[in-house]
């Protein structure tokens, strides 16, 4: 368990979930008032019945660990559907970047609130985000009750003046988030990628990360162009550049990793780097290659799942991402057996939790109570021959009924009290943003 997460400032009640189907069979689960799973087992509920502030009848549900989204840009949910089906450069330079240049902190606040709403509704309990106006994002996360690791997208474009500004912005975000004192929200460093960040800056990030044990969130090997440009301009592939700068450590989550070669997968394994697989975004943006899961697996790399931002997905449903990961790997490697359902589920739960330092992502005593209850009687779970198969191949996030994040109930029977407020606020912010951009 991560230090600090154990002790929550606010008071919460204890919860007993009775007779719920888990991956280990039927269980009672007792969550103490610190948000920690105190006991889990068959028939253990009796001992806690009198202590529990809330009892949830579990017979209609399956309980699984909450899902963890290890790569997103939550604020971009305001751009959902704004620009699709365009050539990559047109999409970026004529649509996304011009709109991003107009973003305000208020936009990012509403975009992040919308993203948090969507993540809760689809069973995600934690995410790692890289974007701008991250103090506003942090405020939105705090209001949602989710856990998040938040990084400012550090982009110096090899310009020393810009580097100074980005370093200050990064330090400022780290300080701001620490000052919030919310144990669910942690700062990270977000050097964007080797093609947008100078080696001086990468080394600075690596040093700060090592000194203060701050996680690093970075894009790596998303397109073939990234690799060939690096080789041509700098004589080294991106993985080598990052390793030379000290970025590859167990504190780092590298997103995409589609174009790694086998030796680079081995190096990531040696360095203990976590990888975030983003199959939907990679397919939609036609990056040309699937993340080499078999090579990462043979090297013991912790592979996790991310949705990427809403402009390149266009949702944040990790159920869909689990399925797409299993399908894309099978299809790309001509193997019906690669990345079976149980592994896809582990990537989205245990893998993600370990990558973000949120415990082991399992339902076991001593773990944070990050638990989602999925409808057993939904059509997608009928029949119920194999829960893992149904969760990965049949269900979408809409099968999630209740979401518990560190003992806090964020959604109960699909009700989130602040939903309508966020739908209205985010719609208005998105319309205004597009209007300022000359559209709409």
């Amino acid at each position: 368990m991560t230090e600090g997460i154990e002790e929550f400032p606010e008071k919460r009640g204890s919860i007993l979930i009775e007779d719920v189907l888990t991956r280990q069979g039927h269980r009672d689960i007792f969550i103490n008032s610190s948000g920690i799973i105190e006991a889990a087992g068959e028939g253990i509920g009796r001992a806690f019945r009198d202590d529990a502030d809330l009892r949830i009848a579990g017979t209609k549900f399956m309980a699984i660990p909450g899902l963890v989204n290890t790569h997103t840009h939550a604020g971009m949910s305001l751009m959902r559907g704004y620009a699709d089906d365009l050539p990559l450069q047109t999409w970026l330079s004529e649509k996304i970047w011009p709109l991003e240049a107009l973003l305000t902190g208020d936009d990012v606040y509403w975009g992040t609130r919308l993203a948090c709403l969507e993540m809760i509704r689809s069973g995600t309990i934690a995410f790692s985000d890289m974007y701008f106006f991250m103090e506003d994002a942090a405020r939105a996360v705090a209001e949602s009750g989710l856990k998040a690791v938040l990084s400012y997208g550090f982009i110096d474009l090899f310009d020393p003046d810009r580097r100074e500004r980005e370093m200050k912005a990064t330090e400022h975000l780290v300080a701001s988030i620490r000052a919030m004192g919310n144990p669910k929200i942690q700062p990270a460093l977000g050097p964007h990628a080797v093609y947008t960040v100078s080696e001086e800056s990468l080394r600075w990030c690596a040093g700060l990360s090592a000194r203060e044990q701050i996680p690093v969130h970075i894009h790596l090997g998303e397109t073939g162009k990234e690799i060939s440009d690096a080789v041509q301009q700098r004589g080294r592939r991106p993985v080598q550049i990052l390793d030379d700068c000290g970025i590859l450590t167990p504190r780092t989550v590298a997103a995409h990793c589609c174009w790694l070669d086998r030796g680079e997968c081995a190096l990531l394994g040696e360095r203990g780097v976590h990888v975030s697989h983003n199959p939907v975004s990679n397919m939609k943006l036609a990056v040309g290659r699937a993340m080499p899961y078999p090579w990462l697996k043979e090297n013991g790399v912790n592979v996790t799942l991310g949705t990427d931002g809403c402009a390149s997905n266009n949702n944040l449903d990790l159920f869909e991402e689990m399925k797409t990961a299993a399908l894309l790997q099978k299809f790309s490697w001509n193997s019906q057996t690669l990345l079976p359902a149980s592994e896809a589920l582990s990537m989205a739960t245990a893998g993600g939790a370990r990558a973000l330092g949120l415990g082991n992502g399992t339902i076991a005593p001593g773990e944070p109570a990050d638990i989602i209850l999925v409808d057993r009687n939904a059509v997608c779970n009928t029949p119920l021959h194999n829960p893992d198969s149904n969760l990965v191949y049949s269900c979408s996030g809409s099968a999630v009924r209740t979401v518990i994040c560190h003992g806090d109930i964020l959604m109960k029977d699909r009700v989130i009290p602040w939903q309508e407020e966020v739908i209205r606020g985010a719609s208005a912010a998105a319309a205004d943003l597009v209007k300022r951009g000359g559209g709409g």
Copy 2:
């Protein structure tokens, strides 16, 4: 419009949907008591207000044509999650075929009811099915209110005795369905594939189809092995075999078509064959190649969408299929612009309707009232910059609120009166089937 579909035996009321967002802008839609769209346009509702037996306020919804699933095996929904992540031959010969050998008409009835329930909940209003015990399937379809084209899976394995039986079974199904007199349910011929059906039988099917104008539903070019076996054993590729037997006509829907070459795509265009793209199944079963959409498109082939059966998907949500089609084509052909959202939506609506002879799959006067209402205020539609993008890339079938099939309301605000009965019945049938198979 298909002959016969216009005049429904049972009495139904007229419906006025007021002020609903369509792909053509805000509209009122008036559906007459024969289930036909009588008028659709801005502000036309006033004239029909007094006539309408039911008025639906449309401001919270988007109205789109109902989705059409052109390739499935509905009865297999009892096997959802029963066997996954296995090598293809193990999966078929040790899991699926042994269980199918135990199937009863009652099993297929419950499996098809479950499939119909799932299709309605995800916005599908018609489907083309190939399986066994199809009289029982037809009974289930009739109870659901969906439209279907039903074929008996004709498999003679090149054995003359078996051929006789299959011919009789096929004729029997055609007669039974005609005897039902349900204009929503049509018979089709279902020669399974070139590797399971003799040329004598293919010719017999082609003759019967031509004489009586009966549709044909067939698998084609799913795996590379199908192609190489045909070439090796019979000196011709599957498309040539089918063409030699007269199977390739505008009455035929060919499912999968992953391994067609460019010339074969041209031939399908010339013959007017409809193609059913099944990207989720193709990826899950690692068939090694994506259906060549650009080649089919350049030859004017009507490409539609299918989910395949629940054992190889494992759901029947065409929203997911639209997205996966758009992603798989982009990824396979290294193009961010291939198969944009509007085309994916047309494949699932207009394309499917035309393939099954159910009108044009549009919301226009004279068309059958096959309309679904999608929640405009769902998170997946927030913000609403581009409805087509949201429908294809962001929503799952759970965003569908109301389903109207030929003027019959099959689901209203996500309520289907017979849902619980089917969940219970199908669960029991599935458990019993697996028990008889020695499992569970």
